[in-house]
Structure formats: structure tokens, C-alpha cells
């Protein structure tokens, strides 16, 4: 079972469970994108642990507690892996968190100046795109969960 299905927990035999069975490939691909964004082979400045921590923060901002719990478990699991990678500096981490909040809470307000702040902290193009993909993916995942949960009671 994929993470989204686990959290949504549609009642077996319900209309929602039946509809989701027709979208099994999409749920499987959603799990693959989760894995690619949370545990990439090339994480750059955004380590696996930092990704999990940012994702947990985003899940709380979207008010999906079970998703936040999932990412809190990943934070613990990622500690060993991260020792092999170049971590972000403190200044970069601060810039990353600020940009993560912008992408999550107020994406419509984002401008060129926000990208320039990331560049000023020393982040290159690949890390800027990695951060956008992470925030964009968690937005998708949280909204799929919230939306499907809203359909659970539907006749």
C-alpha cells in the first residue's frame, strides 16, 4: 500500500476504495515521486535529513498531522545517511527554510528577488530547483490526502 492510501485509509468496499483501485498506477507513481524527492541519489545541499525536516514542517503547515508524523520518522532514519553528504551552511539553511515557507504558504507572492536571496546564500541552480521540487511535491501529496479524505464520507 502506498503512503497516500495508508493515510487516507478508505474503507474496503467503499466507493472511494473502488475509485482508487482504478487509479493504482497514479498512486504508485506518486510513491515513486515521494522516494525521488525525499531520498535522491544526488541531494546536493539539501540532505535527506533536511528534506524530511522541511517536509514535516510543510505537512504541519498544510494541517495533515499523519503526514507530519511520517516525515518525523524519516528525520530519525536519515541521520546516518546524511554523514556522507555536504550539508548546507547555517546561512543556507536559514535561506532554505524561509523559501520553503514562501513556497508552501504564499507561492503567489514569489518573485525573482526570492531566487536572488537563495543565490546570495551560495545556492546554485540545481539546489534551487531541488528545493522547489520538494516543496511542490509535498504540496501535491498533502492536497491529494486532504482531498481524498474529504471524499471519504461521499455516497
Amino acid at each position: 500500500m502506498t503512503l497516500i492510501e495508508e493515510i487516507v485509509d478508505a474503507r474496503p468496499g467503499s466507493n472511494l476504495a473502488e475509485a482508487l483501485s482504478h487509479r493504482a498506477e497514479i498512486l504508485r507513481l506518486s510513491q515513486s515521486t515521494h522516494d525521488a524527492v525525499l531520498f535522491p541519489r544526488s541531494p546536493g545541499a539539501i540532505s535527506h535529513g533536511l528534506r524530511a525536516a522541511l517536509a514535516a514542517r510543510m505537512a504541519r503547515q498544510y494541517e495533515v498531522p499523519k503526514l507530519a508524523e511520517h516525515y518525523e520518522v524519516l528525520i530519525q532514519q536519515s541521520r546516518e545517511i546524511d554523514e556522507q553528504h555536504d550539508a548546507a551552511t547555517d546561512a543556507q539553511t536559514a535561506a532554505i527554510v524561509a523559501h520553503s515557507d514562501l513556497l508552501t504558504l504564499r507561492p503567489r507572492d514569489a518573485t525573482r528577488a526570492d531566487i536572488e536571496k537563495l543565490q546570495a546564500s551560495g545556492m546554485g541552480e540545481p539546489d534551487i530547483v531541488r528545493l522547489a521540487e520538494l516543496a511542490a511535491f509535498v504540496s501535491y501529496q498533502a492536497r491529494v490526502i486532504k482531498g481524498l479524505q474529504a471524499l471519504k464520507g461521499a455516497k
Binding site: N15, L16, E18, A19, L20, H22, R23, E25, I26, L29, S30, S32, T33, A36, V37, P40, R41, S42, Q61, Y62, E63, L102, L103, T104, L105, R106, P107, R108, A110, R112, D114, I115, E116, Q119, E125, P126, I128, V129, R130, A132, E133, A135, A136, F137, S139, Y140, Q141, A142, R143, V144, K146, G147, L148, A150, L151, K152, G153, A154, K155
Partner: protein
Amino acid sequence: MTRVVENFTTQVPVWSPYIRPVELASATPEQLAAMQVTPSNKGVSPYVLTLAHDPESLAVRSPLFNQIMYGKDGLSSAERELGAVGASVVNRCIYCAAVHASRFNNLSKRPDVIDEIFDRERQAKLEPRDQAIFDFSAQLSETPPAIPEAAAANLANAGLNTLEAVDLVLSSALFGWANRLMHTLGEPTEREPSQR
């Protein structure tokens, strides 16, 4: 000097990245595969070249995008596009809204729906089924999502079955993703007359 497009439009602008895209000539094999560049397909947009900086994400997102927007049965293609437009209006992604509003118009032949949405945004008054779809996608796109208690009943009353409602969740949520890339990594600029 190219001008930034500030208002919703169905004239698809040019997307201009804030960062330097990957150069096709120096792209790695992993980047080329993620961009789906083949000897017969070398046309790659600046948007895809920008996303190729993170080939692992790009490679898995493309098939997901295609399944959600172009998969068979369930919600009609036009109505999936309407879900994409609802998200793009909330997130004010002018470029995404233009592309998907144009597709809605081509599929539905009802340009009045988009005219009303671009004119009045969240206050748009639409036919009941369009209204239910647009409102749900906009509510789901807020942060945190602001889905009313009666959301599922509203969709059912407007005639959407559960599979169609699931497809609406998926297309709306997918555009929360697309908007966060397109609107934050670059901007829509006016087409030069020669590019029209």
C-alpha cells in the same frame, strides 16, 4: 525590453526562467533521459531545461503528470483542465492558467467559462457543475486547504461520481505542484511579434 504579463490571459506567454537553464549541448545522460530527449525529439522548452537541474524529480514527475491529465475514463479532459485552472488562479500562476485555460477552451468550446473566471476569479458565477469543480479546486489549493464540510456532497449534487471527484482532487493537487515550479522559478513575458 520584454514585458512581464501581469494579468490572466488565454494568450500563452513566453516563460522566462530566473535561473540559467541546463544547456542541451552539455546535458548529462541522466538529464537527457529525464527530458525525454531522443534523436527524433530534440525540442526542449526552457521550462524543462530548467527542471533538468534536478533530473531525478523530473524523470518521475512527467509520467505522473501525463496519467493525471490525460488518463482514460473518469473526469473529462476539459474538466481536469478546469481543476488545473482553479489551482492556477489561487496561486496566480499566469503562465499555467493561460496554457490550461486555452486547453479547456479548445476541448469544451465554451470560452465564456474562462472569461468569467479570469474576470471575477474566486467570485466567478458559473453553471452548477463548472462551479462545483472550480470551487473545489480553488478551496483545495489554499494553504492550508479550506475544504468545507459539504464539499463531497456539493460535487455529488453537481453530478460528479466518486471516480470523477478523485480525478478532480488529483488534477487540482497536481497544479499546486506545477504552479510552485512555474510561478516561482520564472515569469511569463509577452511574446515578440515574430514569435506569434
